[in-house]
Amino acid sequence: MPTTPLDNEQVLRLKRDFPLLTESQVAGHPLVYLDTGATSQVPLAVADAERDFTLHHRAAVHRGAHTLAVEATDLFEDARATIAHFVGADPYSLVWTSNATEGLNLLSYAMSNATAGSNGSENAERFRVGPDDEIVTTQAEHHANLIPWQELAARTGASLRVVPVDARGLITPQAVADTVSERTKLVAFTHVSNVTGAITDVQAIVGEAQKIGALTVLDACQSVPHMPIDFPALGVDFAVFSAHKMLGPTGIGALYGRHELLNALPTFLTGGSMITEVTTEHARYLDSPVRFDAGTQRISQAVAWAEAVRYLRAIGMGRIEAWEAELGRQLARGVTEINGVRLIGPEPGVERVGLVSIDVAGVHAHDVGQLLDAAGIAVRVGHHCAQPLHRELGLTASTRASTYLYNTTDDVDRFLDELSRVRGYFRAEGA
């Protein structure tokens, strides 16, 4: 693996692996893609891996004994191992899902199944929640890490407690400590905020949760693509992440869980593949991870996702993290230098990933995005699936720019340059 830091020259070479980024024109301008926080682009090698599997290796997995079926099963399970190792885990600890949202819903429903005593809940005591219990999440969460817990509370009678963010919109270990109690069964929180770009102190929060014996669930959608991650070392019990934000295909994500927990966790989707013995009255379930693989799986997507992980590993996650931290600093510094632009989240100089959300005085985010789009710059506008956090920050919507390994400092400069014209165009007060 190369050890020299990434620079613009190397990034421009990498960019050539992404046909969409080099070929696309938007409104007559070469595309500047700053919306990886929503979804990343895909290198040719990943698209080729999916096509190659489909054309040359396709078969159902974990059923049948013919050569092709064995080959497909090997590729599918190799993919699981590759992705698990990428986050420091063994393959028994990695469950396929459609996306991170489904991973969190799987947990939410498995816990109410534990409460109901169904779906293989013989050893599921730890997952039962009832009217005497509390579930804790935070104000900074994406709706995917909030609503499944609201619904779990509604189904079981448990109380939902929400950790308040600080004035900058950040989750602090102290606020978590102040919110949890002896009755807390689970603490769900994000590793990197998809709105502020702030990095949560995971180990400190895990420490608070462990003091009271609560399970921890980490939303790692915005961290796994951008930095080296080792879930066992972070100490979390469960974590979710998604392929499409890390150069992989859409339609597949993963739930990481400590193996002994996944084996004790009741099932969510039931049906073919995930059983041992079935009668017309009853079924018994396999151990993790196949315990959660009901029905035919996303095989070609898993194989392509593994290729994305190999691509990232070849560059080196440490180098990607360092490069994006540089882009993040350039973004944070740059936007605060523009009159009338307010940076949300950590101030310049404080650690963040390559992501900034901003509020432009007197101009709605939708209008900011429209003007940038006319210059070929793709950013996200709206509430980014985090209405409670926006409300807390006194906003209904913001504009977000987010980077990846294929962005150069020139991309950031083009964004900043165009952003500096926005208030003038819309005749905002004082512009």
């Binding site: 409104a27 007559g28 101009v363 709605h364 985010a365 939708h366 209008d367 429209q370 003007l371 006319a374 506008v381 709206g382 509430h383 209405q387 926006h390 209904t396 919507a397 014209r421 165009y425 819309f426 005749r427």
Partner: protein
């Protein structure tokens, strides 16, 4: 800036987005004897608007006033302002015709030439129809007025 963008953000729209007609300083969410209220929300961008429409009584009721509170992009705010200026004095069938023309124009993807006699300042929103993602912004307050006037009319019949 591109010509297409300037078609979207016509001067008249930018002016209305800053100097807004009908925007009330007080809360308009409670209806009176001859008025109806409607709240509309766009979940994709968080834009929202509450509109109160007051109609005159009598044989042929007409729109007396359109007042609103809202938050949103320049397109949605300007659309509310233009309608608040255009609607008063129109009979209810005339208002229906106006809204119908506006909707047809916005859904036309730039194919319908606006009838300026009927639409007045609202014809300036023709450029919005080429930006499919923004059609909802322009329609938000108009849908609210359409809904509110039904509530008001049901009281005055």
């Amino acid at each position: 800036m591109s010509a297409e963008l300037d078609q979207l953000y016509q001067t008249i729209i930018l002016e209305h987005s800053h100097k807004r007609s009908g925007e009330a300083s007080q809360d308009v969410s409670s209806a009176g004897e001859r008025s109806g209220v409607s709240h509309q929300y766009n979940p994709t961008c968080g834009d929202e608007i509450t509109v109160r429409v007051t109609v005159t009584g009598g044989e042929t009721p007409t729109v007396e006033a359109v007042e609103w509170n809202g938050e949103g992009c320049s397109i949605s705010m300007a659309a509310a302002s233009v309608l608040a200026e255009t609607a008063p004095g129109l009979s209810l069938p005339e208002l229906d015709t106006l809204i119908e023309h506006f909707r047809d124009m916005l859904r036309s993807r730039g194919q319908v030439t606006p009838d300026e006699e009927i639409l007045g300042d609202a014809a300036a929103f023709a450029g919005v129809s080429k930006f499919v993602a923004r059609v909802k912004c322009a329609m938000l307050s108009w849908v609210a007025v359409e809904d509110a006037v039904k509530h008001a009319a049901s009281k005055t019949v």
